[in-house]
């Protein structure tokens, strides 16, 4: 670009920005939002930027004698960005975004622990010709890392005021606002750094060289770098093979912990709901209300809540792993595989968060700029093991290996691995068929290792627990009621059991009441539905009652646990049944008296739930993020086919090897 045109452009920008707003700008994760919250407190509002999916947060702030609107912009790496949210933010900074005030000043947040890359963006922001005040954030972390920053020299290099802050604690914020007010009052435009002022054109390379020079002259190491141990650990944890093995070993360890820690509270909860059910049975007069509560609501809600300890333990462990800095290493190892199969590097963040829930994960895939990359990522995300699958996994594990946490952990690890492998294979397939293009790679920045915070981990577990209980108390409760009704109505004619028939039943170990209850169940709506679909699911090793569970769980997968707890409770002798779930399922028999949950059936059932698309809200989000029902329908279809086929192969395969 010629000097003249650059200068005239700068002049026109400078005249355009006579606005009144103040905008927070930085690389992602430099602390804008934290700073924004510190400054505005609770007074901010979130609005949708017209015509985009961009959420813009703004709030009033008193600067000098004027109250101005402060905006929290999306994170940027460069002002040359091409598309989407970034484009909007860049336009806003230049005062060109419709419906937004132009900035009177920009507060540029720099992460003191990450100066080089942050200064790259700074070099571009300084060119805008708007008064800039730098908030040098994360000063606490920089200090911990053993570095000091020479603020005055930095000011000289940048040609604008620099105020050190710790956004998290709020220190330095008052001074920042004061300096900002002065800069606005004086109309203080930054002096462009010399190295950049004279160069034409300003290349990326030059910007980095400038950034490195600046950092070299302002960064003072006060402690010797403690990189040695980190480097040694990283060499091992990031090793393509060793790192992968460690990753699975860590997963295995976490699951082992879950089963050994959670089994006792789980039994207690199960027993408590069992006793509650028996107590209700003895207190309420026999009739539909008693049945609704004792046979529908309590087993339905209790059957799911039994797994609360597992969920809390898992999220506690994940938080600890994240805090130590290990999770980023694991992501890095997985990222290498991602790129092999044709997923964009940026997909790893959504894939990580998909382990909690696919919905935020699909929304997080917005960080992937390329439309095709994003589509592939969205399509495969629901294959990752979300927290709604945990009760199902835990149920199967409890059925198969009730007494061995070691085997349980192995099964869990295998289940997670299967979800991951399925996701990667499908991505590979889609990349070669549906959307042909090459994905954009990504470099990940590794946080330093540190001691985890138990408090953060406890909070994470508590948050999950709250969500889980809320869901049990709303959606699961409602579905349990409806399911109970479908299993109890319409009432068939009471079958009369002759004495001889009762005797022959008794020979098979079935009581007469149990037999009539089963007859009634077969006559109900749910029973008819189950028998209708039985031919489709019989090859997977399921009886019709599992079929009812599968149908019931199409809107939300964990419902299957409630459904099975209710449906296998029918006709069960109350007194001995102090357990609501596991004992019931273990005792469940097919019409011929063989157990329902054999090894092969359990495995096939697990495989089905790992792969099946059973979450309505996820489909809705896919529709929203892809803009077409077509993709949501495709996602549902391919996952259902995949789940059915894999479960079929698992069941029939095991039978071929003589395992039933």
């Amino acid at each position: 670009m010629a000097t003249a045109s650059r200068q005239s452009q700068r002049a026109s920008q400078a005249s355009a920005v006579s606005g009144s707003a103040v905008m927070l700008v930085s690389n992602p994760n430099a602390g804008k939002t934290t700073l924004f919250n510190q400054i505005t407190g609770l007074r901010h509002k979130t609005s949708n930027y017209p015509g985009t999916t961009l959420d813009l947060r703004s709030g009033p702030v008193r600067i000098g004698d004027t109250t101005r609107e402060l905006y929290d912009m999306p994170g940027l790496y460069t002002l040359q960005a091409s598309s989407g949210e970034e484009r909007v933010a860049i336009d806003a900074l230049a005062g060109r975004a419709k419906g937004l005030e132009a900035p009177a000043a920009i507060i540029l947040v720099l992460d003191a622990t990450n100066l080089v890359r942050n200064l790259y963006l700074a070099s571009q922001v300084l060119e805008l010709g708007v008064p800039v005040v730098v908030a040098l954030n994360m000063m606490d972390l920089a200090e911990q890392a053993g570095t000091r920053i020479d603020v005055e020299t930095l000011e000289a290099h940048l040609g604008c005021p620099v105020v050190p802050v710790v956004a998290r604690k709020g220190s330095g914020v008052d001074r920042l606002l004061h300096v900002c007010g002065e800069a606005i009052a004086k109309g203080q435009r930054p002096q462009l750094p010399r190295l950049l002022r004279n160069a034409q054109p300003i290349t990326d390379d030059l910007r980095y060289r400038w950034a490195e020079t600046v950092v070299a002259s302002v960064l003072i190491e006060t402690k010797p770098a403690r990189g040695k141990r980190t480097a040694a650990l990283d060499a091992f944890l990031l090793h393509p093979v060793g790192g992968m093995l460690t990753f699975f070993a860590v997963l295995f360890g976490v699951f082992y912990l879950i089963f050994s820690l959670a089994s006792l509270p789980m039994k207690l909860i199960d027993g408590a709901f069992g006793s509650l059910s028996a107590w209700v049975g003895s207190q309420l007069p026999a009739g539909p209300v008693q049945s609704l509560i004792a046979d529908g609501v309590i087993p339905g809600v209790g059957g799911v809540l039994v797994f609360l300890p597992q969920i809390c333990t898992l999220f506690f462990c994940i938080s600890i792993l994240e805090d130590t800095g290990y999770l980023a290493r694991a992501a890095c190892v997985v990222d290498r595989v991602l790129r092999r199969v044709g997923l964009p590097g940026k997909a790893f963040v959504p894939m990580l968060s998909a382990h909690a829930c696919a919905i935020p994960a699909i929304m997080a895939s917005r960080v992937i700029e390329d439309r095709k990359d994003r589509l592939i990522t969205i399509l495969i995300l629901p294959l990752m093991t979300c927290s709604a699958r945990l009760p199902v996994y835990a149920m199967v594990t409890a059925l198969l290996f009730p007494a061995s946490p070691l085997k349980g952990a192995a099964l869990f690890t295998a289940a997670y691995a299967l979800g991951l492998i399925a996701a990667l294979s499908m991505a590979f397939l889609f990349r070669r068929t549906l959307v042909k293009s090459t994905p954009v790679p990504l470099m990940i920045e590794l946080p330093s290792y540190k001691l985890p915070s138990v408090k953060t981990a406890l909070l994470a577990a508590y948050d999950r627990a709250k969500l889980f209980i809320r869901k049990a108390g709303t959606v699961i409760l409602a579905i349990s009621i409806v399911l109970w009704w479908m299993m109890s109505y319409p009432k068939g004619p009471t079958p009369s059991v002759s004495t001889e028939f009762a005797a022959s039943l008794a020979q098979q170990g079935i009581s007469a009441e149990n037999w009539s209850a089963q007859q009634q169940l077969g006559h109900s709506f749910a029973g008819r539905l189950g028998h209708t679909i039985e031919p489709i699911i019989a090859p997977l090793g399921y009886d019709w009652r599992i079929g009812v569970g599968i149908v019931a769980s199409f809107a939300a997968r964990e419902v299957v646990v409630s459904a099975l707890s209710i449906i296998y409770g029918v006709g069960e002798e109350g007194a001995e049944g102090s357990s609501l779930l596991i004992d019931r399922l273990q005792a469940a028999q097919r019409a011929d008296g063989t157990p329902v949950f054999t090894f092969a059936t359990c495995v096939s059932f697990l495989v089905f739930y790992i792969l099946a698309m059973q979450c309505m809200p996820t489909l809705a989000v896919t529709r929203r993020e892809t803009g077409a029902w077509k993709w949501a329908a495709f996602q549902f279809a391919y996952m259902s086919v995949l789940a059915y086929t894999a479960a079929l192969l698992a069941y029939q395969g095991l039978r071929v090897f003589g395992i039933s």
Binding site: C357, I481, P617, R624
Partner: protein, 56 residues
């Protein structure tokens, strides 16, 4: 109909309406490009955090 039967019917209808409303909401939210009602957690905020690439 006995009182018990009436209570049960009311509960079932209420539950069915609650579920239908949930389904309707998430479908129509998707159509209007609003965030569908998910589990209601706040992970979305956390998930929006982009990864930080290092210098190329």
């Amino acid at each position: 109909m006995s009182i018990q039967q009436i209570i049960v019917n009311l509960a079932v209808v209420a539950a069915a309406v609650f579920l239908a409303r949930g389904i309707y909401r998430s479908l129509s939210a998707a159509r209007r490009n609003k965030t569908p009602t998910c589990a209601g957690c706040n992970t979305c905020e956390a998930a929006k955090k982009e990864p930080t690439p290092t210098k190329p």
